[in-house]
């Protein structure tokens, strides 16, 4: 049976159609205006950034040929035909990569410990005093807005060249980034256990230890692992400013046009980032699995 579609009388329909057209026209106008503003902003930006399509067209061949060159050995053969020659410095590079991972490990862990200590003071529901919350929040904002490599540049001057500056830079940045994420987790907890512990006359510290920490530990660990993953990437360029790790070797290879070394080092960085991504992904899956079971 076909359903009857009722059609409204002519005048009523005209009014509704008019309103519909007007609404659509308004939406179109808004979209056109937004697009125009955006395109204008892009045009201004293109002038500001000295974008020159002619340079790009003229030199885009260089981009392809650059990749051609970094995959060619000095003998002219392709790199993968002679792995021994390509990866000639693998022992040195591997130990530098190890240093890179260690920098991000120590930096992340130190940052996580500090962020752990501070985040209970900044979460809205556990903060003991509003002024303290405000002050520490601003401090964390500062720590995460200034890029870690800028901290590294300054620390290299204060602490001397070497991985120590890189560790401290990553630590400071992690305090800011993790502190914010941690306190967001704490703000989402169930407050009943906290009230329960407080009703027994426990101090603020005991409330945190026995009512808050058990609820948030898995989330904290998960974010920390994610941060570690990000920091490995960050640590791979710390060497650009002399703060340790594989970056130093890479920047030398790029600047001195040791083409096949560039591709070898990049390959090793990409592989180690992959391995760490997969490892932390697995660990996070297990953590969340555990949490779901409990």
């Amino acid at each position: 049976m076909a359903a009857a579609v009722s059609i409204l009388p002519e005048q009523q329909l005209a009014v509704l159609n008019g309103a519909y057209r007007k609404a659509v026209a308004r939406k179109r106008l808004r979209l056109t205006m937004a697009t125009a503003v955006f395109l204008a902003a892009l045009a201004v930006a293109a002038i500001g950034a000295e974008v020159d399509i002619r340079t790009l067209v003229a030199k885009i061949g260089n981009f392809a040929s650059y990749f051609d060159r970094i995959f060619t050995l000095e003998s002219g053969a392709r790199v993968w035909t002679d792995l021994g020659e390509w990866l000639w410095g693998w022992q040195k590079w591997l130990s530098l990569l190890g240093e890179t991972v260690l920098i991000s490990y120590v930096g992340t862990l130190a940052g996580a410990i500090l962020a752990f200590a501070l985040n209970f003071l900044t979460a809205e529901n556990t903060s003991p005093a509003p002024w303290l919350r405000f002050a520490i929040k601003r401090l964390m904002e500062f720590c995460r807005t200034v890029p870690d490599i800028v901290f590294a540049l300054i620390f290299v001057i204060a602490f001397g060249l070497g991985p120590m500056a890189g560790v401290l830079a990553i630590m400071i940045h992690s305090v800011g980034a993790l502190g914010k994420l941690y306190s967001e987790i704490v703000e989402n907890i169930d407050m009943k256990p906290v009230e329960g512990v407080r009703s027994t006359g426990a101090s603020w510290l005991s409330c945190m230890r026995f009512a808050v920490v058990p609820q948030v530990a898995a989330g904290f660990a998960s974010y920390t692992l994610l941060r570690f993953e990000i920091n490995v990437r960050g640590a791979s360029v710390m060497g650009f400013v002399g703060a340790g790790g594989i970056g130093q070797e890479l920047v030398v290879a790029v600047r001195k046009f040791y083409y096949s070394d560039v591709s070898a080092i990049l390959l090793m960085i990409i592989i180690s980032v992959f391995v760490i991504d997969i490892g932390t992904g697995w660990a996070r899956g297990r953590l969340f699995g555990k949490e779901a079971r409990a």
């Binding site: 030199k59 260690l102 920098i103 120590v106 862990l109 800028v150 602490f159 560790v167 790029v254 980032v273």
Partner: protein
Amino acid sequence: MTQLPTPDSEDLRARYPEVFSQPVSARLAMPAMLLGAAGIFAFGLVELDFSPARMLAGLHQLGWITLMMIPPDPGSSLPAYLVALGETLSIALLGTTLAAVFALPVSLLAARNIVPSNIFRFPVRRFLDSIRGVDTLIWALVWINVVGLGPFAGVLAIAVSDFGAFGKLFSEAIEAADKKQVEGVRASGGNALHEIRFGLLPQVLPVIAGQVLYFIESNTRSATIIGIVGAGGIGLQLAEQIRVLEWQKVSFLILMILVAVAAIDWISSRLRFAIIGRRAVA
């Protein structure tokens, strides 16, 4: 008031043995993990040349540097810094837009509901992963070799490294889209392109717009540092002033960056709310 019977601990122990006696392996797992983590941490400190003496000397030095940073003062180079800041914002905006434009078609290829075949999808995904594995600064180094020093290299560096990130995020957004609307378009006789244009894009565009805005925000931060390797923007000025130890200028530049990032944060979160609604963001 009735007195509840006091639970007899012996009785409870007998009834719930698994609560009271965990296997040794489960009880030892946590301390072992913590011990291992602490062990690697200590090894790292030794391996990376940490020492209390160096730490103290460094902190002393850092204290001096901080004192010398006050008050922040641009000297006579304020116009140059403002131009550099404009350059940085331009780099972030252009780089992100370029990346989004190129990533959209590629992300379609990497989405499971559009390209069901694993053979095609797998290499596209690995390709995107490799691009993401390389830091923006490294891409900046490569592009400087191609188009020369200057902000244009920075734009291309951000575009390439975001291309990898966008490809992944967009394809995830596409995979999460509702299938029914696509089927509706197909049922009314639309071809594959119609399905994407009228069934899929209206669903994913707001999500994508939100992500692009978020990246413009985070790229403002990245764009402040690519100048360190010579790819334009305020990072170039910052790195130079740090190298010549002009600390008052350094602190002024850092303040400029903080203000610019806060401003962009504010604008883009406003826009995001306008596009996808307040609830979806929170």
